[in-house]
């Protein structure tokens, strides 16, 4: 049976049509009631319409994630949640041009935001989850949205995605923390999700002032358990530009926004192999 529901993950609203009997209840473990709503409002214009339906495709991966006529990918029934989360990220990163978007995690404490751009495997998501669990407000674990109107960071609060070893690291550091939808054998290995904290959901539309840019690098064989280096601003700018989803589209405005951003923030490279010491040092330096 086809069901229709809506996701108000500010600043984007999405309407979802699916014939999966479990998608809504699975998502309700990750999103609160005010964000995930069972009936789309007839008076609201949605940014995206997503079709997530079963279609014939041979023996496996029957669910197709599409927005309009654009196909994203197919999913097995037991991988519905990861594919949904990736698909939603794809819609936003491919089509929104309101914010300059950078592939990075963003958190905030005492009015100051920390941006963590880093390649997969650097420990970005782990660090993001740990800081959130220590009371930092999550803005996003995936997409840093810079508002060209004021240079502030727009939250896009969504579940934190953990991959492979980081799932155990989080559970060791924070015994009792609930990890949802642990899904093995996906394209990215085993993935699982953390629900953002209440603080993060409550302020899902409160922008934050960028203060620091941090490039984490987990190095198992490093000589020091933790080391923090200042990054040259020009290097930071280039790295952010290369890891932006729409820097080229913003053209000169994009360059000006990033220049302003690196000018008004401090940038660091963080190498570590001891997570506990790293967190202590980080909070000492930043707060």
């Amino acid at each position: 049976m086809l069901s229709l529901f809506a996701l108000y993950a500010s600043p984007f609203t999405v309407q979802i049509a699916t014939d999966s009997p479990t998608l809504f209840s699975d998502l309700s473990r990750l999103y609160p009631e005010q964000v995930l709503r069972p009936d789309p409002s007839p008076a609201h214009i949605y940014d995206f319409h997503i079709d997530y339906k079963r279609r014939f495709s041979g023996k496996s991966r029957p669910y197709h994630f599409r927005t309009g006529t654009e196909h994203f990918r197919m999913a097995d029934a037991h991988q519905l949640i990861p594919t949904f989360e990736w698909g939603l990220n794809w819609c936003v990163s491919a089509y929104q041009q309101q914010y300059l978007a950078i592939h990075a995690a963003v958190l905030e404490k005492d009015g100051n935001a920390l941006i963590m751009p880093a390649p997969p495997g650097s420990g970005k998501s782990t660090l993001c989850a740990l800081l959130m669990l220590r009371g930092w407000r999550l803005l996003s674990d995936e997409m840093c949205l810079i508002d060209p109107a004021n240079g502030q960071l727009q939250p896009y609060v969504r579940p934190v995605s953990l991959k492979n070893a980081s799932i155990d690291v989080i559970q060791q550091h924070q015994p009792g923390v609930e990890v949802f939808h642990r899904t093995p054998d996906t394209e990215k290995g085993t993935v699982a999700y953390l629900r953002p904290t209440d603080l993060s959901w409550q302020q899902l539309n409160t922008q934050a002032k960028p203060a620091w840019i941090l490039f984490p690098a987990y190095q198992a064989d490093a000589a020091e358990p933790v080391a923090l280096f200042t990054m040259p601003k020009a290097d930071t700018l280039l790295y952010l530009a290369q890891n932006s989803f729409n820097y080229a589209v913003f053209a000169a405005e994009g360059f000006n926004l990033l220049s302003q951003l690196v000018e008004n923030t401090e940038s660091f490279r963080l190498e570590y192999n001891d997570t506990r010491q790293m967190l202590e040092l980080l909070e000492q330096v930043l707060c």
């Binding site: 309407q15 409002s41 007839p42 008076a43 609201h44 214009i45 949605y46 940014d47 995206f48 319409h49 927005t67 309009g68 006529t69 654009e70 089509y95 929104q96 041009q97 309101q98 080229a248 589209v249 913003f250 053209a251």
Partner: protein, 352 residues
Amino acid sequence: MLVPLLIQCFRDPKQFLAKASAACWTDLLQQARSLGLTAQLKALFERHSMLDELPETVQKHCAWGWRYYQKQRASLFYELMQLEPTLAQTNYPCLLLKGAAYQALGLAVSEGRLYSDIDLLVSRSQLADCKAKLFFAGFFEPAMSAYDKHFYLELSHENPPLYHVKRGTALDLHFALFPLAGHKNLATEQVFASASPLEGSCFQVPSLSYLYIHAAIHFFWQEERHKLIKDLIDLDLLYTQLAEKQLLQQLLNDSEQFGALEPVVNTLLLVEKLFNRKLPAEIASQLVNSHERRDLARALLLRQLQTGTIATLAGALWYLRGYRHKMHWRALLRHVWVKSSLMLRQRRQSAS
């Protein structure tokens, strides 16, 4: 007949705004995004001075689309500037076609229109020279089989796509407006005769009526289905400009002389019907009495714009019909024969 939302909106945006529900807007935005038409919607609303009256979300999406379009337009002009010094060395005309021509002329149809490659037209006798010049400017032709190359040069209407080695730009170098395998005997020299130079540039552009004719033949004599709505919107915008400049009679004369009256007559009838355009009486009467009316083909087209099994069936017939136009049956038989024997030979080789 249920007219697709995007056509309803381009037909009369003010009426659309007056009637559209939120669900309608959600669908319209979704369909526009799928077809790359969001920025064209913004341009439409701006032409009707109604951008401020639109719901906030619609304005937001228009701004998203417009930002992307501005980037594309800047890239197109940059690429044309890069081509200038190379093609300025030629002593024969190089015509911009389709999107690049619309943009260079600043036509209404270019406002918000995205493009994926640059289309150029040179005379067939100058193709080798033009290609040589482009090779020296960094363009290359990816490797392909001898038959595929023969197909492009002898049966289609363009050289295999050229790509720039550094910038990745795709360039379609045409020597005709329509595949030679279609045996339509089109008078390509007339396109050159109609062309006028662009001020301050080495490029020329076909006249407005030849731009329409080109769009019409690629719409009415082809098999693709996925961008029919987008192409109809292009045709309507080109038609509107021809009508404003009172060039519709010229269009009919040119298309007859060129040998493509059929697609022009039938696309004008479609534009009249779908977009509720009022054709001038003398043009309308010529269309009513024209021997080039293809009522069945137009019915197939209109059917496809609906949903359901009959639409799918109409699409399948449209596909067969389109191929018949693009390739004369003798060329098609030969093509199928060569392709299948090549495939068979390849399979045998890989098996042994």
